[in-house]
């Protein structure tokens, strides 16, 4: 467990900013408790200071997980977000997509979101923007990246992909062992 280096922080924030933009500030600077990001076995954990201090007494090999896993660094140095961070990024998301009940299951099985399944979209979502996917009952289901901007979506046929799948809560079952 160690703090992120400057380069790591940069790649991590760049990815995170695609979803919540400037709202990362609220993660860093919280009113209730001091939280920090810590790297452990290539994974970035969002953890309170108290828990982090306690975790220092656990050996590196023995420590499995701490706090909330936000994602991991790939071997090529890119950052990949895990669905475990959904609660935090859903809270501060700038752009959202709501999908109809008939589209929920395909998305939760790891498929992209097609136009026919979309119920509602945040206005003026640009292309390749990170979005949070909600069910129509406002339950966050996962997140993805828009394939087209909102205005371009209107001209598309119903089977066209609108949101590329990134992570969904079905992964809690599918990737149980590697997620945290």
């Amino acid at each position: 467990m160690r703090p992120l280096t400057e380069q790591e922080t940069k790649t991590f924030f760049e990815k995170l900013a695609k979803y919540i933009g400037r709202n990362i500030t609220h993660l860093i600077d919280r009113g209730d408790e001091t939280y920090c990001f810590r790297l452990h076995r290539d994974r970035v954990y969002y953890v309170s200071e108290a828990v982090m201090r306690k975790a220092t007494s656990v050996g590196r090999d023995q420590l499995i997980s701490l706090g909330i896993c936000f994602g991991k660094f790939t071997k090529t140095g890119k950052f990949r977000m895990h669905v475990t961070c959904l609660d935090y990024i859903a809270q501060y998301a700038k752009h959202k997509v709501w999908i109809k009940p008939n589209g929920e299951m395909p998305f939760l099985y790891g498929n992209h979101v097609v136009k026919a399944h979309i119920g509602r979209v945040t206005e003026d979502t640009p292309e390749h923007q990170g979005v949070i996917v909600y069910s129509m009952t406002d339950v966050p289901l996962g997140f993805g990246v828009t394939a087209r901007s909102t205005s371009d979506t209107r001209k598309l046929e119903p089977t066209a992909i609108v949101v590329f799948h990134q992570a969904d809560i079905g992964e809690y079952l599918r990737q149980e062992d590697t997620l945290f």
């Binding site: 703090p3 900013a17 860093i28 600077d29 001091t34 920090c36 990001f37 810590r38 982090m52």
Partner: protein, 296 residues
């Protein structure tokens, strides 16, 4: 006139020149004007009155030393009578440590293994042509490796127009150069070996030349890495060459896990400012603003 009484009185003023009560005879090294008294000190006497006892002891021993000196053969001189001191017998310890043996050169090692013994040759050799002795080698040598022959046969298969003197001079020069290189190599190996010696002295290992070569290589590699980084950007923006040396054994440095979190937070904020600013995320959504104004 009887002066014996006067003499006796005079004598009484001085202590006796004979010293008694030495169980072990005192040893002398008259060359160093030294006497060694091996007799144990009388402890009761010493504790009673220390100064007096030590004074009397040293006086007695000094007396014994003077007695010995007066038995030496003397010579008379303008300056007076002088005793002839013998050569000192006491061995003094060496002031400096023994010089270390010189590290063996490659040839010396080879010769030792093969049992080749160096035979001494005279420096001066009789030159029949001039009829006098000349040095075997060096300045004004007798025949400088065949370069002073008055006639050289053209070797079989050689170009008759070639200068054979020139060829011999060249050959000699080459030999000298090669020897110079060997000398250089021996020096380097010796330097490394002495360095290894200091390292392995506690382990009782003998430095070997494979080690020496490896060490030399390591040294060179580190030097290359230093020169690579000696650019204006400290090597950051230099093009990487394929198959180039990679720095080994350089550990990455990370910030400590537990630090002042407010400082870490400030650093994170700084990075965030840079990123969000770069992405062009503005406070005003321009498209939305245009739409809103159009509606009005």
């Amino acid at each position: 006139m009887d002066v014996s009484g006067v003499l006796e009185a005079h004598k009484q003023k001085f202590k006796s020149v004979t010293v008694e009560g030495k169980i072990i005879p005192v040893e002398y090294d008259l060359g160093l004007l030294a006497a060694y008294d091996q007799n144990p000190v009388d402890e009761g006497e010493l504790n009673k009155n220390k100064d007096e006892y030590l004074q009397s002891l040293s006086r007695d021993n000094a007396q014994l030393l003077f007695n010995e000196i007066f038995q030496l053969p003397t010579i008379s001189d303008d300056n007076g009578v002088m005793a002839m001191l013998p050569t000192p017998t006491t061995l003094l310890p060496r002031e400096k440590p023994l010089p270390k043996p010189k590290p063996e050169t490659r040839w010396e090692k080879f010769a030792k293994a093969k049992g080749i013994v160096k035979r001494k040759k005279e420096r001066m050799v009789f030159d029949e042509t001039s009829g006098e002795y000349k040095p075997r080698w060096g300045y004004k040598a007798i025949n400088d490796d065949g370069t002073k022959d008055w006639l050289i046969e053209v070797p079989a298969g050689a170009n008759p127009m070639d200068d054979q003197y020139e060829a011999r001079r060249e050959a000699k020069k080459e030999r000298i150069d090669r020897n110079e290189k060997r000398h250089q190599r021996n020096m380097e190996e010796a330097a490394v070996a002495s360095k290894l010696d200091r390292k392995t002295v506690n382990k009782g290992e003998r430095p070997n030349m494979d080690n020496a070569r490896a060490m030399k290589r390591k040294e060179l590699e580190s030097q290359i890495l230093i020169t690579k980084n000696s650019t204006a950007s400290v090597g950051k923006f230099d093009k990487a060459i394929e198959g180039d040396l990679k720095p080994r054994g350089i550990k990455r440095q990370f910030a400590p896990t537990i630090t002042d979190l407010s400082k870490e937070k400030a650093g994170n904020m700084n990075i965030l400012d840079k990123i969000v600013g770069k992405n062009g995320e503005d406070l005003v959504n321009v498209r939305k603003a245009i739409k809103a104004t159009k509606r009005q």
